[in-house]
Subunit: 231 residues, 2 copies
């Protein structure tokens, strides 16, 4: 019985900041499933050849190999139906919408908040790759993409529906966290692990939810190494 998560690491092998890996870590914790991690770096494509994939997370669950964070969440719901993370039917569809909302709208704004911090957190051998791929995606140099104040202005607008929801319940999925919480949390954990930037005053309630998320499932995320812990 082995369960292994290939997990992105930074300049210190203990620094784990991938938003997509954090989704999976939280989903595994949600279901009470133990796992080991293998530290992986962007340029180490060879290490994932067995999975016919070139990115993390990759989860090996005994003889199953699953790639892509959302597919891993879905796999976990199928293989371990207790305590659903995404759910089925309408619940699943709405989680899929929320995934797209996080990836298409929120994550690009968060990238602008911490672009240069991310570059600094990444292993030196990965920085050229990171710069090249991200600058191609944004069509600008990382130094121009990095714009924390502008990012906070964008996030004040973008996260309005999240704030509304947090007025109705302590977690996005209700009284306890589940898939929607983990999808957004992953992206905020990405910010938290590599940067001292905050979301800004407008998003104080989102920051408060994030702090609650650091304490759930035995505080697994709250115990993570961040740049605060590194020299």
């Amino acid at each position: 019985m082995t369960r292994t998560l290939y997990d992105l690491c930074g300049r210190d092998e203990r620094l784990r900041f991938s938003p997509y890996c954090w989704r999976v870590r939280m989903a595994l914790a949600h279901k009470g499933l133990d796992f080991d991690t293998v530290a992986w770096r962007f340029e180490d494509k060879q290490a994932l050849a067995f999975a016919d994939y070139d990115k993390v997370p990759v989860l090996c669950d005994n003889d199953q190999v699953i790639t892509d964070s959302f597919d891993i969440l879905r796999y976990l719901d199928n293989a371990y139906p207790n305590a659903p993370v995404l759910g089925e039917g309408m619940s699943f569809q709405r989680a899929l919408f929320f995934k797209y909302f996080v990836e298409r709208s929120v994550t690009p704004a968060l990238f602008r908040l911490v672009a240069m911090d991310l570059l600094a957190a990444i292993h030196p051998d990965d920085r050229a790759y990171f710069r090249k791929t991200r600058e191609a995606r944004f069509g600008a140099r990382l130094e121009e993409v990095h714009a924390p104040d502008e990012a906070r202005r964008q996030l004040a607008t973008l996260l309005a529906p999240v704030r509304d929801l947090l007025e109705a319940s302590p977690f996005l999925d209700g009284d306890a966290p589940a898939g929607a919480d983990y999808l957004l949390f992953g992206s905020l954990m990405w910010v938290h692990t590599v940067s001292l930037e905050t979301l800004g005053e407008a998003n104080a309630s989102v920051e408060a939810w994030f702090q609650r998320m650091l304490t759930v499932h035995g505080g697994v995320a709250g115990q993570a190494i961040t740049i605060r812990d590194l020299a």
Copy 2:
């Protein structure tokens, strides 16, 4: 056995354009529930005094009086559990997020697309009220708020997660429409009933979904009177 929906009407009593009333109409159709409507205008507060409320939709279901569109959807799921619209638990929470996404992010952009068309569609006696309340909300004159090209640019970005979802399934809630579809559809029906403006090329797949929505449940929305039908 009577079921009555108080429904906003425009300069022609048959013109029914409220996004919030359309949510309820679609949810009633989804559950196969018959209903009559009472045409209501913004200034006719007295007609809703019995409900202790000053806006529509108001649904009278025998001796039950329910106000607020989302509360009506929730009421319908409780009173008529077959064919859930919002669902329960995580499904409900995620529908609530989607409601806020539609109301906080999408609807204001749609308002900028059709502000002056809306003013023209409204009953002349309601126009002063409409102008005053909406200009207060936007902090600008309706003539300045009305900016269709700018609105289309906003919608190209805002609706990206909706387009992603529509690549995965024909309706937002899966193979058949449900709550999430009705929440967004209401706002697009608002545009469709009062204006000839379109969402723009970037949102062609959203327009195609809207056309499908006009045909569901016996084409109830497709048969609605729009300004195309009025002299």
